[in-house]
């Protein structure tokens, strides 16, 4: 075992003096085993870092903002009104086609309203993305977006002027509300 092995992690962390660092660098140039260990230490450090990010993201996603129940109530009320309106005009089909209301915008695909991509682990191991989306996408459920002005839910001045929230409703083929998602 090389004596330098005890200094590899400190070298990785830039904690060695310049003389010690130069000695380690000279050694690893000619020592395959130390280079291999160094790579392993660096990889596990990076994985630990990514894991910490994932822990934070996972815990943050569990957290439900206090205004969500208020907004959810408004969205559900809007959904009920929408369904009552839509079902008077459309025969009960396998797929419910939404009628455009004044504040409703049909979404062409269920993926169009996905939030902006986040930095995720798999991007560090980038593999060319395989497009597995079906070319002929057949909707099995209907998505509806409803814009709700922030002023309608919060006291004046509490939110920046002109801010809207979007309530996204997924309508199941039987006409029921399958999912309500809120975003800014």
């Amino acid at each position: 075992m090389c004596d330098v092995q005890a200094k590899l992690i400190a070298w990785l962390d830039r904690e060695l003096s310049s003389d010690e660092a130069a000695g380690v660098e000279r050694h690893i140039e000619g020592c395959k085993e130390c280079r291999s260990r160094l790579a392993a230490y660096e990889q596990v450090s990076n994985t630990f870092d990514v894991y910490c990010d994932a822990v934070v993201t996972a815990k943050t996603r569990r957290r439900v903002p206090r205004w969500v129940p208020v907004l959810a109530s408004a969205a559900v009320a809007a959904a009920v009104m929408f369904l009552a309106f839509a079902q008077r005009r459309v025969e009960p089909p396998p797929v419910l086609i939404p009628t455009v209301a004044a504040t409703s915008v049909p979404v062409p695909t269920p993926h169009a309203a996905e939030p902006a991509p986040r930095k995720t682990i798999h991007r560090r191991h980038a593999v060319p993305a395989v497009q597995e989306r079906a070319v002929k996408w057949q909707p099995t459920e209907t998505a509806v977006q409803i814009a709700i002005p922030a002023e309608a839910m919060f006291p004046p001045g509490a939110m920046p002027k002109g801010m809207n929230f979007i309530a996204e409703l997924s309508i199941a083929p039987d006409g029921s509300v399958k999912q309500v998602r809120l975003r800014q």
């Binding site: 596990v44 894991y51 939030p115 593999v127 993305a129």
Partner: protein
């Protein structure tokens, strides 16, 4: 960590006039502090409370002509001590399984990649739980960008001890994770 992955709660405190340095520090260190605290075991809400309290303490510290050396280490130490005071959360660190929560990590990857990522994380999580408290804390502070000297100040241990602890912890993880 992307900007989107951290809750955008507004700070409850109001920075004093002329405290642009504190504002800059807040922008720079808020996320690393949140990450450290959440990984210690605090909930997202608790971590945000602790970060705000730490910056309030910093304002008082600076207003009373306290030392301005190594403010980053000072903030981490204050946050660390406040986290320790929340004993229940503090001892929850890394103990909660994240398997179900982490499906989103590979939502546009192939099934094989998802399996590999989850397996890699599962092994790492198991290995982390086997570390000592000191080893975990050293690695978390190291992941927060602190130098060994700063880590020693936060944890109240010698710099050389930090070096030994970090080395031991990384070697344990590398061995257990087989990387």
């Amino acid at each position: 960590m992307s900007d989107d992955s951290v809750p955008l709660a507004l700070p409850l405190f109001r920075l004093a006039a002329g405290s642009s340095e504190v504002t800059t520090l807040y922008r720079e260190l808020r996320k690393p502090l949140l990450r450290y605290l959440v990984c210690l075991g605090l909930t997202s809400d608790e971590a945000q409370d602790v970060v705000q309290d730490a910056f309030l303490s910093l304002q008082r510290h600076l207003a009373s002509d306290g030392t301005q050396e190594n403010i980053r280490g000072w903030l981490f130490r204050v946050a660390h001590n406040q986290a320790r005071n929340r004993q229940t959360s503090y001892h929850r660190r890394f103990s909660e399984p994240l398997d179900g929560e982490m499906d989103f990590l590979a939502d546009d990857a192939t099934p094989e990649q998802r399996v590999l990522e989850k397996e890699k994380f599962r092994r790492l999580a198991t290995a982390i739980r086997l570390l000592t408290e000191s080893e975990r804390e050293c690695l978390l502070l190291r992941a927060g960008g602190l130098r060994y000297r700063e880590i020693g100040e936060v944890l109240g241990i010698a710099t050389s001890t930090v070096g030994d602890t970090v080395e031991r912890a990384i070697k344990k993880l590398a061995e257990k994770c087989n990387v």
